[in-house]
């Protein structure tokens, strides 16, 4: 797991930067001196310490979940999870940045790759929002003797920690929002929507998923729900009668023709929220029961029947 790598015995280290987006994304290495190497290792150590100190962690990352600023979430390190993260991890030798100073303002994220004495590899990735703003302000000063002097030239600011770490098994996510942006996860989930919908439809053959497929391929929220349902396996073992009752309570309209159920286009999101265990009902007050949608949810411990 995360503690496998020995950060006190790092043998190889490199700093990489990413420029561009989508298919134009390029990864380049930047030569660094020993003090930068030390700082990067400190960042990795700080990230690992923060991750391990988070209570209730680690949890599985879900695309449809509303994430807090800092959390400890896990995803398997595969190409299906994130092409960008997997490629950063599995890249061989990386080309050097031709002109670091010119490229500095267009850097989107930076990362470090370290190998310890046993050959364990750990990658730390950080979104490059902060130092970009510093580069643009041009107002950075430092004390020189007893006077303040303007620091000229492009600057590169290292942060205190990384947004997520990658080892051979998992992506260890500390800042989910930055992870989503760095890995362009929304685009990847839209791209993966047909595969996710196909997986779900295998377990619910009585439903016509053509409307879901069309929506998941174009809308991020639907693509997130579909990815979450598939990742959690929430489509398995569904009781159709119970699903009908829940859908009826949430106002989801079905059309059934020749035994095939199609979902009204306006109710696709609600239907998927039900499958993703985000719709629930409370009946505490007088009058009608209340329907709620959970932006974030976690499974409660199973309640044992009283003897």
């Amino acid at each position: 797991m995360l503690g496998d790598i020995d950060l006190s015995a790092v043998r190889s280290i490199e700093l990489g930067v990413a420029i561009g987006r989508g298919s134009g994304l390029e990864i380049r290495s930047v030569p660094i001196d020993q003090r930068v190497e030390d700082s990067l290792i400190e960042m990795l150590e700080a990230t690992r310490t923060t991750l391990l100190s988070i209570e209730d962690g680690p949890k599985q990352f879900e695309a449809s979940e509303k994430h807090s600023g800092i959390d400890y979430l896990l995803l398997p390190n595969t190409e299906d999870t994130s092409v960008i993260a997997f490629s950063c991890f599995s890249a061989g030798t990386i080309d050097p940045l031709p002109d670091a100073k010119l490229s500095l303002p267009s850097i989107r994220f930076y990362f470090t790759r370290v190998f310890d004495k046993d050959g364990n590899l750990l990658v730390g990735v950080k979104q490059a929002a902060f130092f970009k703003s510093i580069v643009r302000t041009k107002g950075l000063m430092r004390f020189f003797d007893d006077s303040l002097r303007l620091i000229e030239g492009p600057l590169f600011q290292l942060d205190h920690d990384f947004d997520f770490l990658i080892n051979s098994e998992y992506l260890h996510i500390l800042r989910p929002r930055q992870f989503i942006q760095v890995c362009e996860l929304q685009k990847e989930l839209l791209r993966a929507a047909p595969k996710n919908v196909a997986e779900i439809s295998q377990h619910l053959p009585m439903f016509d998923f053509s409307g879901v497929l069309a929506a998941a391929s174009s809308k991020s929220t639907i693509a997130n729900l579909v990815a979450s349902i598939n990742a959690q396996g929430f489509m398995k073992g569904i009781n159709l009668d119970k699903l009908r009752i829940r859908c009826a309570a949430s106002g989801v309209a079905f059309n059934e023709v020749n035994g095939v159920i199609s979902i009204d286009n306006d109710h696709i999101a609600t239907f998927l929220e039900i499958l993703d265990r985000r719709r629930y009902e409370f009946d505490l007050a007088e009058g009608d029961s209340e329907n709620w949608v959970a932006g974030s949810r976690k499974r409660a411990p199973k309640i044992m029947a009283s003897q």
Binding site: V10, R11, S12, I13, E14, E26, I27, S29, P31, Q34, E37, F86, S87, C88, F89, S90, A91, G92, T93, I94, D95, P96, D99, K101, L102, L104, P105, R113, F115, G119, V135, E152, G153, P154
Partner: protein, 192 residues
Amino acid sequence: MSESQRHADRLEKPDLLLIRTMMVLGGMSPLFLLWAIRGTSIISDGAFLAICGCLIVIPNLLLGIKISSLSRRPRGVPLIIGTTEDRRQDILVYLFAMLLPFYSVDLDSWRNMIATTVAIIFIFYIFLTLNLHYMNIFFSLFRFRIFAVFPAENASSFTSKETVILITRRKRLHRNDRMNVKRLTNGIYVEV
């Protein structure tokens, strides 16, 4: 061109340029050594020996200091081996291509001396721009081998498509080995 770009142009990699210049000059050491032995009638032996001596000693000394400082660094950069090609024969080709024509040049007139110097500057520039500055007879004398390392084929799309030069004492390199190397200049690494 923006102000930051102009500023960046002014500062373009002075350290890399210095080490690359020293490596190219260091590669020409055998020629300077032969010239020092031959001498010339237009410059006194003492002055010519001093010039040639400086051209031999200073670049190789700085290169040696650089490699020595790299060897003391506890950490290197990872280099993943794809296919490799032994480039020792390049030094042989280079020695014959460079030593023999220049050694046979007559340096006993100012005109010939200037023409030869200009030709050397052209060759110097070509070596610098074509990244041929790894050719140095001292690497062979210190039992280093020079390999061209081609990128691993099965790595991710971010993997370099460029060939890099590795200077190492190993006799052979194995495909998909991950080596811990030190960066000498862009594209040239040394294992020390």
